[in-house]
Symmetry: C2
Subunit: 399 residues, 2 copies
């Protein structure tokens, strides 16, 4: 039985970032760049007008009235070829290219016009309301480095630069194997001794939420040969194989035996964490195997602590571990002290501080408790009681 932080180190040491693949810009959303992105153009690509107004030579304005002859109009998307001369002005719309010879734009709200005469009442500075070509980004410069996580702002920026395809790290493919002879499908009626397969749905949505790919083999009977075939096939098509159930010391817990037979390298098979002690981690070639417990709260806890960081690392993310912060307890909590105890709670923010409320049973089957919680506080190994008012480290779940 190893410490939780040691378990996470072992997992991350054995997890490699997946290679890059070319994807469409929209598909790259919430993925991680696997190439440096270089600007193919100046941005803006031309001296750009930032206000509706008149383009002119600023040297022709004075402190007081100056007059110009309006020689035309430029809308966004048009391009004006003729050189503007002193004493001339061209009406110009926001987003249009400033015509050659002009070095300033005066806003429409600040001038008067009579026929084709423009009246300006102030000394206009050079560069006024003009964004110079390349002022935002110069052609050839690196805009994003490999490793950048792509949010809407980055997707918009890449569109501006003309990237309709981009190289991102591949998304890990995860295969689920749900074991347990007590399990029936969710559309079946409960018969004696049976419960429904909730872990598959819990895991599928946890994985989808990380933007990884998931395929479930569904319920596999507690039969050594069937589990062997399932795990073998899963290693062939997945980057990560996750099983739930079958990792305890019961007579029908075959997972560890099966993955040994396949030739996987078992790195650990229990961790000092509650809920979720009997969690198995193994590698097989460049594939990872996580044998999670069978109870849903333990599945959730071990997925968040151990599987999610591996998935994030594979897809190239740097922020693989969920941020923790101090939480003030509003209730008393107990622990056996033998393991790091993750207590599922409701965390509320008041006056900039976080407070944790007891939401009921922490039994590893108590999925209902989880539906009333938004976070976890951690009673470290060695701590047996934590009283209201004390401070523990906590974190949010499913943000």
């Amino acid at each position: 039985m190893i410490e939780t932080c040691r378990a996470l180190d072992i997992i991350l040491d054995n997890t490699a970032v997946l290679e890059g693949e070319r994807v469409s810009l929209i598909e790259s959303f919430k993925r991680v760049l696997a190439e440096n992105v270089v600007s193919r153009d100046d941005l803006p690509p031309f001296d750009k007008c930032c206000m509706d107004g008149y383009a002119l030579k600023s040297s022709h304005t004075v402190d007081g009235l100056s007059k110009f002859k309006i020689t035309g109009s430029i809308k966004a998307g048009d391009f004006w070829n003729e050189e503007i001369k002193a004493g001339e002005a061209v009406k110009i719309m926001t987003g249009a290219a400033v015509p050659p010879g002009a070095d300033a734009v005066i806003q429409v709200e600040k001038v008067k016009t009579e026929g084709d005469e423009l009246q300006v009442f102030e000394n206009v500075h050079t560069g006024n309301n003009i964004l110079k070509a390349g002022e935002e980004i110069e052609k050839g410069s690196i805009v994003f480095k490999s490793g950048k996580f792509l949010r809407p702002s980055e997707i918009g920026m890449l569109a501006s630069l003309g990237y309709n395809e981009i190289i991102c790290h591949k998304l890990p493919k995860i295969v689920l194997i749900i074991t347990g002879d007590e399990l029936i499908n969710i559309d079946e009626k409960i018969t004696r001794g049976k419960i429904r397969n909730c872990n598959e749905y819990l895991l599928v949505t946890l994985i989808k939420n990380l933007n990884a790919c998931v395929k479930s083999y569904g319920i596999i009977k507690d039969d050594k040969d069937k589990i062997f075939d399932a795990v073998k096939s899963a290693f062939e098509e997945g980057d990560i194989v996750i099983s739930s159930g079958g990792v305890s010391v019961g007579d029908y817990d075959f997972i560890e035996e099966v993955i040994e037979k396949i030739g996987a390298d078992i790195k650990f098979n229990s961790v000092k964490v509650k809920p979720g002690k009997p969690v198995t981690f193994a590698t097989f070639k460049d594939k990872l195997f996580f044998g999670l417990p069978g109870n849903p709260l333990a599945v959730m806890n071990t997925f968040e602590m151990f599987v999610a960081p591996a998935i994030k690392k594979m897809m190239g993310r740097r922020d693989v571990v969920t941020e923790q912060f101090p939480v003030i307890l509003k209730d008393n909590f107990k622990s056996k002290g033998d393991r790091d105890n993750c207590i599922y709670v409701n965390i509320k923010k008041q006056d900039g501080k976080y407070y944790a409320y007891n939401m009921g049973s922490q039994s590893s089957n108590a999925l209902f408790t989880l539906t009333r919680c938004n976070g976890v506080v951690i009673m470290k190994k060695g701590i047996k009681t934590a009283k209201a008012g004390e401070v523990l480290n906590g974190k949010f779940i499913f943000k």
Copy 2:
């Protein structure tokens, strides 16, 4: 020109929650329940064993050694019909149904066996390691009320209760109209006076991130008839129509004219916010129209402030407005003071406090700034300077 808070009130007052529709359990992820969910079974559905061990009558144990005859073995998923008698024990696996007559389970680690004899060394309490039928949830009780947002834990719970379909609020369908004669598609080469259409990609990913449905009509030329046809068609197929560009005072800004002609009810056409003042909001029957500005920073800002809350409300969410919190400035910031000024910054957490760093140009075209930011601080109308060390309200973008 109206205040930002008044604008948001008007939007939400005119936004109705969409009706419910039946969807598969996996499809219901990140959606909102539109029905109360009642438990169809007791959970657990039977007295359930929580540890690998032996089921027995607790009254037959003493402070010291007591002996039992092992009469069989029950694995998870099996059901034992015969009544356990005093002096008898049945081996039982985690998750299995406790046999009739037994009222406790003693863990396998705490006993010794010799052949079919079980030796117990302590007084076992009634109920030990047994989760009673219905202890978690009773049949017929309300598990989730209408309005519940469905995270992985709720999806797992609904699976446990046998819900393979569920009624959720419909997801709003959003149609995009991108206007501007200066725009070219992202796979086209920049020619004189043109820029690429980044707003479509910015908006598509912002909408996808909210789990709503989006369809883009692409670039529509600055032509009254073409914009009219696009908006008319968009109102037919969408719940929300969003345009970008064409809402300023330029000679080719037709949006307001067009939606008036269609018969939409314009509620406001400018808001005291920077970036994003010229934002138009209108209703047409039960549909909403948002005319956003053309510059990307203004698009992002007005989408987050005004469109996102409407989308969230339509899909039944209660948390429609992004939480704000106090942020300490690390740099000096300026504002004209005439509008609420949203300044895009990088927010870092240090010792439980949030600090805002200046990341560059706040010009409404400065999408590149946005890619270096994770948040916003708000200089309220009337504030012209905010110095390092001062505290402003802020919020995160794209969490």
